[in-house]
């Protein structure tokens, strides 16, 4: 029995599912209780699971991360919400110095099965600091998995996987598409794998690689290109650490051409890692340089200019055409 729902509903569904299945799962964050989260991702959970398991914390993200790590060290499975990714920076010392390495530094005596959820990205006319994409900062840290869904169904399946993962997972939710589309999601408790890309569309002429909200524009670009008879393979990376090289390399070895799309700034974004890997390990397969369509190397502007910053489908089409024209 599957119901049509938005991504934020799917997040809520996955949380409820795991809270129900596993009493070690607890939620903590700011405004996640009575208020049900500023995006309503935790709506109804306090009522259903009580204040011992759904905890509004004092206002401090470093606290939230530290609490969650302490809880996780005792075998709980905390799922913490950071209200916006722009406020995730205070958690970084805890995540890098402790969360990512609790298992390693105790040689497995203790571990850190926690999930940090945070909405991220631009495009919703939000105030300052509410629109950035800094996934590359987290994906560079050994020990932290970084997972980003791009549809309601993948949000459900990947979040289940993240909560069940015995190690820490940063789960970034592209808020621009929180409510953009509805999709049937069945509450079947089936998790998706955390270490594979999802090939959303098969194609032969060019591989378009993206994640999160930009999957929307990427698919639109693929549609537009299809009208000109160009067959795009579209891959949702989904997990930025650890990266599924096999799927990406196989696709590019087939198409020989590739455009990588992300909102985050160009310089040092995760597009660089993917582009570098494709060229280093698939140089002979490449018929054209890999292209990156990304945000600028500037600070995400306030919302009046945000569409001047965010890549759009025309940018992707343009980059794909240039790549295809390369001989």
């Amino acid at each position: 029995m599957s119901e049509s729902m938005t991504m934020v509903d799917a997040v809520n569904l996955a949380l409820a599912h795991e809270l129900e299945q596993d009493t070690d799962v607890v939620l903590l964050g700011e405004d996640i209780g009575v208020n049900g989260g500023v995006f309503r991702a935790t709506a109804g959970l306090l009522e259903r699971f009580g204040p011992h398991r759904i905890m509004d914390t004092p206002l401090a993200e470093n606290l939230i991360a530290g609490l969650a790590i302490g809880m996780a060290s005792q075998g709980l499975k905390p799922v913490a919400e950071i209200q916006f990714m722009g406020f995730i920076f205070p958690t970084m010392e805890q995540l890098i110095a402790h969360g990512a390495r609790m298992r390693n530094r105790t040689r497995g005596r203790l571990s850190c099965p926690l999930v940090i959820r945070a909405p991220f990205g631009g495009g919703i006319h939000a105030p300052e600091h509410h629109s950035e994409s800094t996934e590359a900062l987290l994906a560079h840290i050994p020990g932290l998995r970084v997972v980003i869904p791009s549809s309601p169904a993948r949000a459900y399946g990947l979040l289940l996987a993240a909560i069940r993962c015995p190690d820490p997972v940063i789960f970034l939710e592209p808020k621009r598409i929180y409510r953009a589309v509805k999709q049937p999601v069945s509450d079947n408790g089936i998790a998706l794998p955390l270490d594979t890309c999802f090939t959303l569309r098969e194609g032969n002429d060019i591989t378009l690689i993206s994640w999160g909200a930009m999957i929307k524009e990427t698919l639109e670009a693929a549609d537009q290109l299809a009208q000109d008879g160009i067959s795009c393979e579209v891959i949702d990376v989904a997990t930025l650490n650890l990266l599924d090289h096999a799927t990406l390399l196989a696709s590019v070895s087939k198409t020989g051409r590739c455009v990588i799309v992300h909102e985050a700034p160009h310089h040092g974004g995760m597009g660089a890692e993917i582009s570098a890997t494709l060229a280093e390990r698939g140089l002979l397969d490449l018929k054209a340089p890999v292209a990156r369509v990304t945000g600028f190397d500037t600070i995400m502007p306030y919302y009046r200019l945000e569409n001047q910053y965010l890549p759009n489908s025309a940018d992707i089409v343009e980059a794909a055409r240039q790549t295809l024209e390369f001989v």
Binding site: V38, G86, A126, E128, F296, T298, I299, Y309, D315
Partner: protein, 362 residues
């Protein structure tokens, strides 16, 4: 056992909820000038607030945090600061910023998604709005330290909410301010809520002012709906700071009469009764009653003033709406002191794609 430390927090209030004096009011409050001016500024702020919310509701402004209920804290504080002092605001102190030099238009620009809202040179070295909770408290320490390093008799004033007092930044700031005896005033607008989290869930202590004691500095609590009490506390704190006698923390007890921001719906998490009760204690009515009782204000003046105030706000809205978006290249023009060669290609692309026919033309 011996006593190693004793401390206390005093609470002060001059006017009760109806505007009756419950304590001997200070001399200046026996004269109309200051209080009438406060009243004007407070009502102007409230008027602006309702206009800004209306703009947001009609899609003409982004998310906007209202000042409703905080007027008696912000207005006397801004009024008492010297021009050469530095304000380090949080995101709810629009009226203070305007009193210190910017235009109401600038406030709309900022919340309307335009960086130029923080660019007005009239505000001098004041810091811009601060959204990441409590981070501004540390800037305030840096500003105050700069005064000390340069041996200037200036004071830094910073504000934050009750929720902000839970974040490490606030406490680190108090700690260094106390250790270095910085010329600094911290004002907590304890409006009882941090979005949906009530004051009691932020901190187990009976007052927030006592966080000052932990850091070895002065703390006091005032009725933040009482403009006289706030004036007194802020004067004390500014004088001490300016005289080199160190920093203070003022917890002003108010109530957030609005939703957290226009993106919030407070009926989800708080009761109508509580809100109604808070409206009984609100700052403007209290002051108006006091002014009326003294014969310093009346319906006539109210009507006239409302007209003036309305005109100002209307003008601000017009100016705001008439401001075209910044150029696409502006994203690059102020990031570094000079445009690095590495960004020039990106900048040109941004400009090109925003032009008519460009991929991002809107």
């Amino acid at each position: 056992m011996t006593i190693a430390y004793q401390g206390e927090i005093l609470f002060s209030r001059y006017l009760d909820a109806t505007g009756k004096a419950v304590d001997t009011v200070p001399e200046w409050a026996e004269q109309p000038d200051t209080l009438v001016e406060y009243y004007r500024q407070m009502t102007l702020a409230r008027l602006f607030d309702s206009k800004a919310i209306a703009l947001q509701r009609t899609g003409q402004l982004g998310t906007y945090p209202s000042m409703l209920g905080g007027e008696a804290i912000d207005i006397p504080t801004a009024a008492l600061m010297q021009a050469e002092d530095v304000l380090i605001p949080y995101y709810r102190n629009h009226a203070m910023q305007v009193m210190r030099g910017i235009e109401w238009r600038d406030v709309l620009l900022y919340w309307g998604g335009d960086e130029r809202g923080s660019a007005n040179p009239a505000q001098g070295q004041d810091l811009p709005n601060c959204v990441p909770i409590a981070t501004q408290c540390l800037h305030a320490c840096g500003v105050a330290a700069a005064f000390r390093i340069r041996d200037e008799k200036r004071v830094a004033v910073t504000l934050c909410g009750d929720g902000a007092t839970s974040k490490g930044d606030f406490l680190e700031a108090l700690n260094v301010a106390g250790t270095w005896q910085l010329p600094l005033v911290f004002i907590i607008n304890n409006n009882q809520w941090a979005i949906s989290v009530p004051r009691a869930m932020q901190c187990g202590a009976p007052t927030l002012a006592q966080k000052a004691l932990g850091a070895g500095l002065r703390g006091e609590q005032v009725d933040g709906n009482d403009v006289i009490a706030v004036h007194q506390a802020v004067s004390r704190a500014l004088e001490r700071a300016r005289a080199g006698k160190g920093p203070s923390v003022i917890e002003a007890i108010s109530y957030r009469l609005s939703d957290h921001t226009t993106a919030d719906d407070a009926t989800r998490y708080r009761s109508n009764e509580e809100l109604k009760a808070a409206w009984e204690r609100e700052p403007i009515k209290r002051l108006r009653n006091y002014l009326h009782d003294r014969g310093w204000w009346d319906e006539n003046r109210e009507t006239q003033w409302q007209q003036t105030a309305n005109a100002r706000v209307q003008q601000a809205v017009q100016d705001y709406l008439a401001t075209a978006p910044d150029s696409a290249g502006a994203q690059f023009d102020h990031l570094y002191a000079t445009l690095p060669v590495q960004l020039s290609e990106q900048r040109e692309r941004a400009i090109r794609q925003a032009e008519p026919g460009g991929r991002h033309h809107e």
